[in-house]
Every structure is written in C-alpha cells, then in structure tokens.
Amino acid sequence: MAEDVASDINYYLAIDETNKADLAQIRQWSKLKVGLEESILWVKDFDYAQINSVEVKSIPFKTLYYSKGSKLYLLNSQLPDRPLPSVLWTPIERALPVRLPSFNHNYFGIHEKINIQLVSSDVEAEPVAMILPMEILSTYITIAPAVRLEKIRWTILDGDNAFLLGKPLLPLPGDTYWQRKDLLLPTGFDLELSILSDVIQKRINPGRDCWAIWNADASYALVPKENVHPLSLMSFRLSSKRFSKDTSE
C-alpha cells in the first residue's frame, strides 16, 4: 500500500499561552503533542484533515506552520519563517488537564426537607380497610351473615368509629383505604412521592407492628396491629357494651 504522502508533512500550531483555553476543542485528538516555548504554546502532529478542520479553523489568535527540513514555513507560504521550536513535547491530554467544576448539580442539601403530601391518583387499588360510624356497623352486624364477618378484623377507634380491615369489606358506607405495606391510604389518593413509602414506613413504624391510617391532609394515626381483632357479633356486642360502660364512668 502506498504511503500517504500528505501525512509526511508536519503541521504546527502556535498560540499564546494566555489563550490556551481555546485549544479545548482539539484536546480530543489524543495523538497531538504540546510543548511550551516561553509564552508560546506549540501543538504538533496534526494530519492534513485535522489542520483543515473546523475545529482548528475556529481557534482565534493562532498561527499555523508546516515544517520542511529544520525550518517552519507559514501555512500556504513558500518562505521559511522560523526554525523548529526546541521544546519538550507532552501528549495534549496531559498538557491540558481537565478540571471538573466544583458545583455538583446532583447534590441535594441534607438540611432541606420534603413535605409529605397526598395527591389524588388514577391508579385503581382495591380497598382493604374502612372506617365507619359504630351506629351503621351495629345495625348491619346484627343481621349480617357470619361468613361475611369471618375475614374482617376490627377495632374501635375513638368510641364513635369502627375500623375494619379485611377483604371483602362489608357493604356499608364509610371511608375506605387501600394498602401499601403497612400504610393505609385513602382510596383515590397516593403519596405525592410514592417512592418514599418505604422510608416513611421505616420512620413512623420501624417495628411494623402498627397500621398507619392516613388522612387526605397527610396526617396519620397509628393503630397497633395487636389491637385489631377478628370481627364477630359477640366481639362487637361485648366491646360496644364495655366501651359505653367506660365512657359513662
């Protein structure tokens, strides 16, 4: 294969050291070598395509040479301009080191805080829990088939409201909740940052021994799991009797 005649010619680029930042765009050509002669920065080992490329042409305040013998000629000139510079050549990557900017765009301050909010969600989720007034439950439960109560666990929340957990829920009106781990979120709502649900769970309920019932305004209440008992007519009658006795005392 014939030798590439054009590559025999050595091209040189000279630029004032103060403008060396303008060389950034040719730094990617790792074959280039750089040397410093007093205040002039020399770059050599261009090939023909590179010396005529846009990258080189767009560098301001440069001087381009080609060498013949021990003399440097200005590009497109037949007259020698100066002798070859006698400098120590180093690869351009080492001569022009890259310094990363000190500002990290991915950095979030650890002192900043995130507001936990619930937003309405389009994702359909099956309700597994509900809160309803005791009166509604008491009228239903006295005529309810036992098979519907079997799978429900329940507790009394604040004397007026019953909390039911289990599927299928009873056919009664009330606020329903869906489940994400131990978080019970109101149906139709989800955490604004749902990716944080595990973190929130660990934070408010590290032992996983409580149900966290969330309200739409992002407040929550913890109900210990051991206080949630199987629902039966007997359980309901005994509990509501005891509760009304407690409050009357």
């Binding site: 098979v147 299928p168 056919p171 039966s232």
Partner: protein, 216 residues
C-alpha cells in the same frame, strides 16, 4: 357438697362443652335432680355467652330442651361405651322430646346436640348395625339444626320452625356455609338467602356453591 363433686353428669357436659371431649367416669345412667339443676345452670351460662353471637333477637333459654339434649348426649355416650342394656330399653333410656319444638328449644338443645353426629360416627365405627344408631338418627331428624354436617335425607326434614324465625334462619345459613353443606344450601328454604349473602363474593367465599349456580 358431696353431690357437687360427684356430679359426673355435669363434669361430662362441662368437658364436652369446653374441650369437645367425651369423658366418662362410670356407667351411671341415672341422674339426680340436683345434678340436673347444676347442668341446667351451666348450660344457661353457656347459652347466654352464645346468645351474644345470635343475630336479630335471641330467644330465651329453654332449660327443658337443653336438659333433655344434655341427657340424650350423656346417656348415648354411656351406651356407646358400656352396653349392658338390651335394645328394647333404648326407648326408655332415650325418651323423645315431648314439649313444643320452637326456636328457643332448638338453640338450647343445640348446645349439646351438636356433638351427637360425632358420637354416631364413632358408634358406626364400633358397630355399624347397632340399634342405637337408628334411635339417634331419628333424634337428629327432628333436631336437624344440630346435624348440618351429618348427611340426612333432606326431603324428610321439617323446616317450619326455621322458616318462622329470622334468628334461627340466619344461624342455620351460617352453619350451612361454614360446614359447606351443599345439599342443604340448595334447599329452597336457604338457597335464596345464602346466594344473596355471598353476593358478588360467591367465588371468594364459597367457590363450589357459586360454580354450581352458574352451571344450573
């Protein structure tokens, strides 16, 4: 207090109710009035506990029916274990129930009668041609609420009492669903109620029942 500690009738019934075991102390077929009173008191307590689980209006405790049922179970267990009597004595040892059979009687008698099917199954294992089996099966035919698990000819059963009272009807449905008694569930007395109780969750709560509805 001697009668209290030696009340084997009460001990047997208590053990049956609390541990669901039959424990017999001796072959004693006669019970005294005092023993019976203690048994009735105990069953009354048990009934008032169970009544908490009764839907609608729970009927009053029927002491007569509950004592009769307790005696029936007690004597049947004795007869299964120690048979010294002739078959002809069976009807005197196990008299039928003579008073009116109403909801209260059914629920009160059920406290003990619900254990009768298991006794019959045991008896069948011992001697499948025992005359006692027929006597007890005849009892269960009348008190079929206690024998939902026990296969019977459903067409011969009388559901008039069940139909008349919503509490008993609901309890009966509960028991049918709990025991998965398909034959009774298909009976017209219960079919509509059970179907509406299961509702759209039929496949979840009792798959076989809802499947048979689709096929029919």
């Amino acid at each position: 207090m001697a009668g209290h500690t030696d009340n084997y009738f009460l001990k047997m019934i208590q053990n049956l109710r609390k541990h669901e075991d039959v424990l017999l102390y001796d072959n004693i077929l006669n019970t005294t009035v005092e023993d019976e009173k203690e048994v009735v008191d105990f069953l009354n307590e048990e009934y008032s506990l169970e009544a908490l689980n009764h839907p609608y209006q729970s009927p009053e405790f029927n002491s007569h029916a509950s004592l009769w049922a307790a005696k029936t179970v007690y004597i049947s267990a004795q007869l299964i274990l120690y048979r010294e009597n002739k078959d002809a004595d069976l009807s005197t040892l196990l008299p039928g129930f003579t008073s009116e059979v109403n909801t209260a009687a059914v629920l009160s008698a059920d406290l003990c009668l619900r254990f009768l099917p298991d006794l019959i199954i045991q008896l069948k294992l011992i001697d499948s041609e025992d005359a006692l089996i027929q006597v007890l099966e005849a009892t269960l035919k009348q008190w079929h609420y206690s024998s939902v698990r026990y296969t019977q000819d459903i067409d011969l059963l009388d559901f008039a009492v069940v139909n008349s009272d919503p509490c008993l009807h609901q309890l009966y449905c509960n028991r049918i669903v709990q025991q998965r008694s398909m034959a009774l569930a298909k009976h017209p007395v219960f079919y509509d109620s059970i179907r509406s109780q299961l509702g759209i969750y039929g496949s979840e709560l009792w798959n076989e029942f809802s499947l048979s509805n689709h096929s029919s």
